[in-house]
Amino acid sequence: MKLLTIISPLNVGRLLAGTFAFLASLMMIVLVFGSFQVAGDD
């Protein structure tokens, strides 16, 4: 029963939101560093 409470739609949604936020922060880092590489690549 406790497990079912943990795997509730709200908690799964929160986990998803957290995962997306983590992905977004990774993307920001890669975007910034990648842009330097792209701009300098002749």
Binding site: R14, F20, M28, V38
Partner: protein, 212 residues
């Protein structure tokens, strides 16, 4: 050097793109002047490796694995760093990343997180969440149109190159990294309907509270 992923089966199509595209005439021939031979060309090179078929070679096998790829890479030297950066931020290069994707994920996850933090079993309908849900549907709509706008901007950044046997310039076949994330029309409609119903639910909830 810029490396762009192409889908040579069909160009990307959207009802506004046709009107926005550059009106150019295809050159009469697709042939390019012969390359000047250098000492490097006369060097002997190892024979090109042929890819072995992955499917069973005998005819008894009840299946076949057929390799049929239509994805090609367009490589050319882009002298302008601004154009290179534009192609990179628009998600056309092979970095699997784009500015639009970042904004979509960042804003989407932020709205979703705030919404789920506030929504509890006791108070499922709040005015703030109705607003966030509306913003979320607007974000999805914005992403949908920006995605197609990005396609147009990419076409403007790439020089007009024609390949033999292909009807349109190669820039029309470029694939963006946001393709997989792009929401369909059904997603937009469903999300908008949910946002509308949710807002109506909040209004009814508030009215009921006032009545009590």
């Amino acid at each position: 050097m810029v490396k762009l992923r192409l889908d040579t089966r069909k160009p990307h199509e959207f009802f506004l793109l046709g009107a926005l595209d550059r009106k150019t005439k295809r050159p009469a021939t697709d042939t390019y002047p012969a390359k000047q031979r250098t000492a490097f060309d006369s060097l002997s090179r190892p024979r090109q490796q042929t890819v072995r078929m992955v499917s069973p070679t005998n005819a008894i096998a009840p299946f076949q694995l057929v390799a049929e790829t239509q994805v090609h890479w367009l490589q050319y030297t882009e002298p302008s760093p601004w154009k290179r950066l534009a192609l990179y931020f628009l998600g056309a290069t092979d970095y699997q990343i784009s500015l639009l994707k970042f904004v979509y994920y960042a804003l989407g996850s932020w709205l979703l997180y705030r919404m789920l933090r506030e929504a509890t079993a006791a108070t499922p309908f709040t005015a703030a969440n109705a607003r966030r849900l509306r913003y979320l549907s607007l974000l999805v709509i914005g992403f949908f149109f920006s995605h197609h706008l990005a396609y147009w901007l990419v076409r403007e950044c790439i020089p007009l190159l024609y390949a033999p046997g292909m009807a349109q310039p190669l820039s029309h076949y470029v694939l963006l990294n946001t393709d997989r994330d792009s929401p369909g029309a059904i997603t937009i409609v469903v999300l908008s309907i949910i946002a509308f119903i949710y807002r109506r639910g909040v209004e009814l909830h508030q009215e009921a509270e006032l009545t009590v």
